[in-house]
């Protein structure tokens, strides 16, 4: 195998570091941290309003009010509630203030350092740890003990109440019913290789119905590592997840990532010639890259750059380079 040939295979990073996660804020949400602060796991970092509204208030000009600042007014006669909120903008001598009655606490799912705080926009925290990147994460930031489940598709009947508080690795695919049941049983998150568009839509609809009912949803996230079709988790990823089993990990939404803080965990580099086939008839299989063979004709009348891959069952297959990936 020539090294130049191998470098023609597209690469994918197995472990990402550092991890800067963004926790989105909307107008009225109250950040509880400042840039430079250290946060520990579970520390409240913001209060998020459930139903923000815009009030018109008279603000003392002597206080030099500025957009984005918090403001607290004087309580009106016969009212206990103290008016306050986030100053948005001034118009005709009055300030528009974003406020609300009920706020939920947002907690940091990992330890780290606050990099940036922008009221109304978001809080960026650099995690103390590393991450495995996914393609999308649904739900909200969460953390829990990683539990590696069965290889293949997890059905709702396969869920166990003992998984409460865990982040489950469920293999190739999962359906919306299993996801909603997992959330109801106290599972904190799910890591899956593929989530089909229908299941994704059904799950998001279920989540939005829950929110509309004004329930405070328990932290729950679905991290999709590969795509929308069924294929097993890559061997290299499975090996890392296996090493993390039983330890606390976090899922963040932006960027979609599984974050873990285990500085002593040695992650062996995958063999350099190990490649994974991500599309086509052999999708999901892994093998050793032998050599690049230049342009080859494939079904559909197309000519594509290809390489020979030696599969564990002894078969050598010519695969388009675009269908291959290797982890670095």
């Amino acid at each position: 195998m020539s090294e130049t040939d191998l470098r023609l295979v597209p690469t994918r990073r197995l472990i990402v570091a550092p991890v800067d996660a963004l926790f989105a804020l909307r107008p009225g949400d109250r950040p509880l941290v400042s840039a430079g602060d250290s946060v520990v796991v579970g520390a409240p970092i913001a209060e998020r309003l459930r139903d923000p509204r815009l009030d018109e208030s008279e603000v003392n000009v002597a206080d030099d009010p500025r957009p984005g600042e918090r403001w607290t007014g004087e309580p009106r006669r016969d009212e206990e509630a103290v008016p306050g909120g986030e100053l948005m903008f001034e118009w005709h001598g009055h300030w528009r203030v974003a406020s609300g009655d009920i706020a939920d606490s947002v907690e940091s799912p990992f330890a780290g350092i606050v990099r940036d705080v922008r009221p109304g926009t978001g809080i960026t925290i650099r995690a103390a740890g590393r991450g495995i990147r996914g393609i999308v994460a649904l739900g909200g930031p969460t953390r829990g003990r990683l539990q590696v489940g069965a290889v293949g598709e997890l059905k709702s009947g396969g869920l166990d109440v003992g998984s409460a508080g865990a982040i489950l690795v469920v293999g190739s695919r999962v359906d919306a019913e299993t996801l909603t049941r997992a959330r109801a049983m106290g599972v904190c998150g799910v890591v899956v290789a593929g989530l089909s568009s229908k299941e994704r839509r059904d799950y998001l609809a279920s989540e939005s119905r829950q929110r509309a009912a004004l329930h405070r949803l328990p932290p729950f996230a679905v991290l999709v590592l590969d795509g929308a079709t069924r294929r097993p988790l890559a061997g290299a990823v499975q090996a890392v997840l296996g090493a993390l089993a039983g330890h606390e990990v976090a899922i963040v939404i932006d960027p979609p990532m599984l974050v873990f803080d285990m500085p002593n965990l040695v992650i062996p580099a995958p063999p350099p010639d190990l490649v994974r086939i991500r599309a086509g008839a052999l999708s999901g299989r892994e093998g050793r890259f032998i050599r690049a063979i230049g342009p080859r004709r494939f079904p559909g009348g197309v000519h594509l750059e290809a390489g020979i891959v030696h599969l564990p069952d002894g078969m050598d297959a010519a695969i388009p380079l675009g269908d291959l990936e290797r982890f670095v």
Binding site: M88, R118, S196, G322
Partner: protein, 497 residues
């Protein structure tokens, strides 16, 4: 080579292939095996489009702003004071993904705008203070509120004044300003404009370029200077015309389904499109080719919708396809996809920028050097796909006439049966005269019954397209699939599909 491959390895392999293919030329250029990595490089890359928040006082005013920005390299999110409350509007503007704000009003503001523009300016100025890195464009009458933004010299993000957007006029100075802000000068989409102009000047022909890429679709119309006049170029970069949008809605899926022969339901089609987005170079064989071409046709349709002014212009002499969408498809299929979607009565030549080199050439800063480079490469730059003749106004159900193709190797005659495609073999580099005799008057650029047309060959030969203009497809998916398959078979002429 697929994206994600190591660029040094790609250059090394391609250099070695060049040496092996023509050792004498390589020796003349002092190019040895493994030596390509040391050659000087011209690098161009396309950039992911950024998000522009667009607000105006009324829905009526926001529409032309969105139409202009959407074809100027920006992903857009919009709201108007008429239908969006100030809190939601603040959320739009404060969103971490927003890179710039366009706030516009008529010049002077119309009656329905006047009441809201002041409050809107106060809201945007407050956001500008909180996010000083944002670029703000005040279009039309909003320019009168510049003082609300305070001391601009202390702000890292620019605050710019732009002209008002007008309904029905999508290009123009505001579009030019937005493209300038959206894309850096070395961006591949933007460089296509200069590349197209150089090609038009070298060929002395009107050239249209259509690009369908990963992040955006691009359309360029370039006209060489005539009679000492200046050349002209019109550029539109439409992010929603990307091959596979990041989050495809039902409209996108239905459109891909319309062109798909695959017979998949919406959910499966959406899954495949998401996969195409995640790994655009993967799954490019078998079914994947069909899906890719359906997605490319759908994207081409979106590109055409955002650039309606092209329909009012004279058809270009040469239409060049470029971009990743076409890179892994048979040439004949590319030509058919272009003519399926960009349907206009007339005669058109199609070509493929097979090496996708027009954008790198367009990024050469000096115009003379750029033209010289294009002139040097012009024989190898494009793969001719062939000539398409598309008459309109045919009567269905009987023969519409005949065509005789008089070429170097003899004459061939074909009956013109409406509804189908006729393929006349005309290899690249060959020219012929096609003499058409229609029974009734048809439109072929001009109206008439008898036409003699100079045609040139290509990988797709000469194709006489006797289908409807615009194309009508059956509602039933199975019938539609059969018809699309049959048309594809016509142009492939027995070649492997």
């Amino acid at each position: 080579m697929p994206a994600g491959a190591d660029i040094e390895a790609v250059i090394s392999v391609l250099g070695d292939r060049a040496v092996a293919a023509d050792p004498a030329l390589a020796a003349a250029l002092d190019l040895r095996r493994g030596g390509a990595v040391d050659l000087p490089r011209l690098e161009v890359a396309s950039h992911a489009p950024r998000k522009l928040a667009i607000i105006a006082a009324s829905d009526r005013a926001v529409a032309p702003l969105v139409a202009t920005a959407s074809r100027s390299g920006w992903r857009t999110v919009s709201g108007s004071a008429e239908s969006t409350d100030p809190l939601a509007m603040s959320s739009i503007l404060l969103d971490a993904g927003v890179s710039a704000i366009l706030v516009g009003a008529g010049d002077p503001p119309a009656a329905d705008e006047r009441r809201a523009v002041g409050e809107m300016a106060a809201l945007v100025a407050a956001v500008a203070g909180r996010r000083p890195e944002l670029v703000i464009v005040l279009a039309g009458g909003m320019g009168d509120h510049l003082e609300a933004f305070g001391d601009l010299s202390r702000r890292p993000g620019e605050v710019l004044l732009g002209p008002a957007a007008h309904r029905g006029i999508l290009g123009g100075p505001l579009a030019d300003l937005l493209i300038e802000l959206a894309l850096p000068p070395d961006d591949a989409h933007r460089a296509l404009g200069a590349g197209a102009l150089a090609l038009a000047e070298v060929l002395d022909r009107r050239v249209d370029i259509v690009e369908i890429g990963f992040d955006a679709g691009t359309r360029v119309g370039a006209t060489p200077g005539v009679g000492g006049g200046p050349p002209a170029v019109d550029l539109a970069v439409v992010p929603t015309a990307a091959l596979a949008p990041a989050d495809p809605d039902d409209l996108v899926i239905d459109r891909v389904g319309l062109w798909s022969t695959w017979g998949a339901d919406r959910h499966r089609l959406r899954d495949r499109l998401r996969e195409l987005r995640v790994a655009p170079w993967a799954d490019a064989t078998g079914d994947g080719v069909t899906l890719r071409m359906a997605a490319a046709r759908a994207a081409l349709g979106r590109l055409a919708e955002w650039t309606p002014e092209w329909d009012e212009r004279r058809p270009a002499d040469l239409v060049v396809a470029t971009g990743g969408a076409w890179a892994v498809a048979p040439a004949q299929a590319v030509a058919l996809a272009l003519v399926d979607v960009l349907r206009r009565p007339g005669v058109g030549q199609f070509a493929l920028d097979h090496a996708r080199i027009l954008a790198p050439l367009g990024s050469i800063p000096d115009a003379d050097e750029r033209r010289a480079m294009v002139a040097d490469l012009v024989d190898d730059l494009l793969v001719p796909l062939g000539t398409f003749v598309v008459p309109a106004g045919l009567r269905v159900g009987r023969s519409a006439g005949s065509v005789v193709v008089r070429g170097a190797t003899g004459d061939t005659q074909h009956d013109l049966v409406p509804g189908g495609l006729i393929l006349a073999d005309l290899p690249p580099g060959n020219a012929a005269i096609a003499e058409f005799k229609f029974r009734d008057t048809v439109s072929l650029g001009t109206r008439g019954r008898h036409f003699a047309i100079d045609v040139t060959g290509g990988l797709g030969g000469l194709v006489v397209d006797l289908r409807d203009v615009p194309l009508r497809l059956p509602d039933r998916a199975d019938l539609r699939g059969e018809l699309l398959d049959a048309w594809q078979a016509s142009v492939m002429n027995g070649r492997d599909r």
